[in-house]
C-alpha cells in the first residue's frame, strides 16, 4: 500500500494537469503540490508507525510518586544449575494430587553411600529406569527436589499399559476378538486412564494446593524441568528431616471429551507404586 502511495506521489505531474478541468492552472498546481506533500508525509508517518510497532517500546522510567510494585508471590528463588542458570521451580505447594504415598526414608538411599541428595536421586533413577521410566524431569522445590515422570497411560487397576501404548496420549480402543467384545466396544466408550507421578524429596512440610492441575499442565511438567539434578542441590545432605513422597495425578479421558482430573483415585498411592513395580524395587 505504501509503495502504491509512493508511486502515485512521484508520478503526479507538476503542472496541475490533473485538476485542470476543475481549477485554474495556478490553483491546480498548488493543490497538486499540497496533495503530493500530504501523500508523502502520510507515507513517512505510516513507515514510522510501522517501525514503532516492530520495535518494543522502551520501558518508561518509574514514577517516583507511585509506591514500588509488590514482590511477586512465588516460591523462594531457585538454586543455580551447573551452568549457573536458574533451575525451574515446581509449583509449591504442589497442586492437589489424586493419591500420594510416603516412601520410607531408608529405602531411598543404600546404606553404603553417603547421605546426599545426589545419591538419593541416582538410586531413584536406577529404580525408575528398571520399571520403564527412562525420562525424568527435575525441578527445584524448597529444601530438595521434585522429580516428574512422563504422563503414562494405565489400566483401571493402575497397571501400566504395555509399551509402546504406555506413553501414547491417544485413547486406546479395546481389541475386538469375539462377539461379546464387539458389542461392548460398540456400546461403551473407551476410557483413557492417565497418570503423572511426581516424586518429592524435601525437608519441608509438604502440603497440597487445593487447585488441581489440568492434564495439559501436568503434561507440560515433563518438558519444563531439567534432565539431571543440579550439583548444588545434589550436595545437600539427605538429613533425618528429609522425606520422600510421591504425588499421583490421575486423569480420565473419554472420546471427544476433555480430560478430567480425578480428585480422589480409587487406588492408594502405594497401590500405584506397587502396580508399576517401583515399590517392590525400592523395598529391595
Amino acid at each position: 500500500m505504501s509503495l502504491v502511495v509512493f508511486y502515485l506521489a512521484l508520478r503526479m505531474p507538476f503542472n496541475g494537469s490533473l485538476l485542470a478541468g476543475l481549477y485554474s492552472p495556478e490553483k491546480g498546481r498548488r493543490l497538486q503540490r499540497l496533495i503530493r506533500v500530504l501523500l508523502l508525509s502520510g507515507l513517512m508517518s505510516s513507515c514510522l508507525g510501522w517501525q514503532e510497532e516492530r520495535w518494543p517500546p522502551a520501558p518508561s522510567p518509574p514514577d517516583p510518586a507511585l509506591p514500588p510494585p509488590p514482590p511477586p508471590l512465588t516460591a523462594p528463588p531457585s538454586p543455580r544449575g551447573r551452568e549457573g542458570s536458574a533451575i525451574p521451580q515446581f509449583p509449591w505447594p504442589p497442586p492437589k494430587a489424586s493419591a500420594f504415598a510416603k516412601v520410607p526414608r531408608a529405602w531411598m538411599i543404600p546404606a553404603s553411600l553417603s547421605p546426599v541428595l545426589q545419591n538419593v536421586a541416582d538410586h531413584l533413577e536406577e529404580v525408575l529406569g528398571e520399571t520403564g521410566y527412562y525420562e525424568k524431569s527435575y525441578y527445584a522445590i524448597p529444601g530438595g527436589f521434585a522429580l516428574v515422570l512422563p504422563i503414562e497411560q494405565m489400566q483401571q487397576d493402575g497397571t501400566p499399559t504395555a509399551e509402546p501404548d504406555r506413553w501414547a496420549i491417544k485413547i486406546l480402543h479395546p481389541r475386538v476378538v469375539d462377539l461379546q467384545s464387539y458389542i461392548q466396544a460398540l456400546f461403551t466408550a473407551p476410557v483413557g486412564y492417565y497418570r503423572v507421578s511426581v516424586w518429592i524429596v524435601t525437608d519441608q512440610m509438604v502440603t497440597q494446593d487445593p487447585v488441581p492441575p489440568s492434564r495439559d499442565e501436568a503434561s507440560k511438567w515433563m518438558g519444563g524441568g531439567i534432565i539431571s539434578l543440579p550439583s548444588e542441590t545434589g550436595k545437600i545432605t539427605y538429613s533425618a528431616a528429609h522425606e520422600t513422597a510421591v504425588l499421583i495425578y490421575e486423569f480420565e479421558k473419554r472420546e471427544e471429551a476433555d480430560p478430567i482430573f480425578n480428585p480422589q483415585s480409587r487406588l492408594s498411592g502405594r497401590t500405584h507404586l506397587e502396580k508399576t513395580g517401583v515399590w517392590g524395587l525400592l523395598k529391595g
Binding site: 491417544k170 467384545s181 460398540l186 466408550a189 473419554r254 472420546e255 471427544e256 471429551a257
Partner: protein, 138 residues
C-alpha cells in the same frame, strides 16, 4: 411384481434398515456418547435418513387416504436399481457405525469421513426413490 408389492419391499428395506440404525444410535447415545458427541452424531445421521423416510411415508399416507392410485405395474430394472441403491445407501450409513469398534478413530470422525461418499450416494438414491414412488403411470 405389482407396484404395491414393490413399494412394500422398499418400505420394509428402509424401515428395517433405518430402524436398526436408529436403535444402535439410541443405545450408543445412552451408553457411549458424551452430550457433545450425541449432538454431532445425530446432526449427521438425521439428514441422511429423514428426508427419504418422509417421502416414503408421505406417498403411503396419500395412497391410503385414496388421494393417489397405486401404481399397477413397475418396470423390473427400475425397481431393482432402486432396491440396490437403497440397500447400498443404508449399508453405507451403517458402515461407520458398525465398524467403529475396529477403528482407532472416534465414531464422529468416521461419520464425518463417510459424508464424502454419502452425499453423492444420497443424491442417486433419492432420485431413484423419488422417481419410483412419485411416478404416475400413463
Amino acid at each position: 411384481m405389482s407396484g404395491k408389492q414393490a413399494k412394500n419391499v422398499l418400505v420394509i428395506v428402509w424401515f428395517v434398515g433405518s430402524g436398526l440404525l436408529f436403535s444402535v444410535l439410541i443405545l450408543q447415545s445412552l451408553f457411549r456418547f458424551s452430550p457433545t458427541e450425541r449432538e454431532a452424531v445425530w446432526s449427521l445421521f438425521l439428514p441422511s435418513i429423514v428426508p427419504t423416510l418422509t417421502l416414503i411415508i408421505g406417498v403411503l399416507v396419500t395412497e391410503t387416504l385414496g388421494q393417489a392410485q397405486p401404481q399397477a405395474w413397475v418396470m423390473g430394472p427400475i425397481f431393482s436399481l432402486t432396491l440396490f441403491l437403497s440397500a447400498l445407501y443404508l449399508v453405507a450409513i451403517g458402515l461407520p457405525i458398525f465398524l467403529s469398534p475396529f477403528s482407532d478413530e472416534t465414531p464422529i470422525a468416521l461419520l464425518r469421513a463417510s459424508q464424502l461418499w454419502m452425499v453423492p450416494l444420497q443424491g442417486l438414491t433419492s432420485a431413484a426413490l423419488g422417481a419410483f414412488f412419485v411416478h404416475k403411470p400413463k
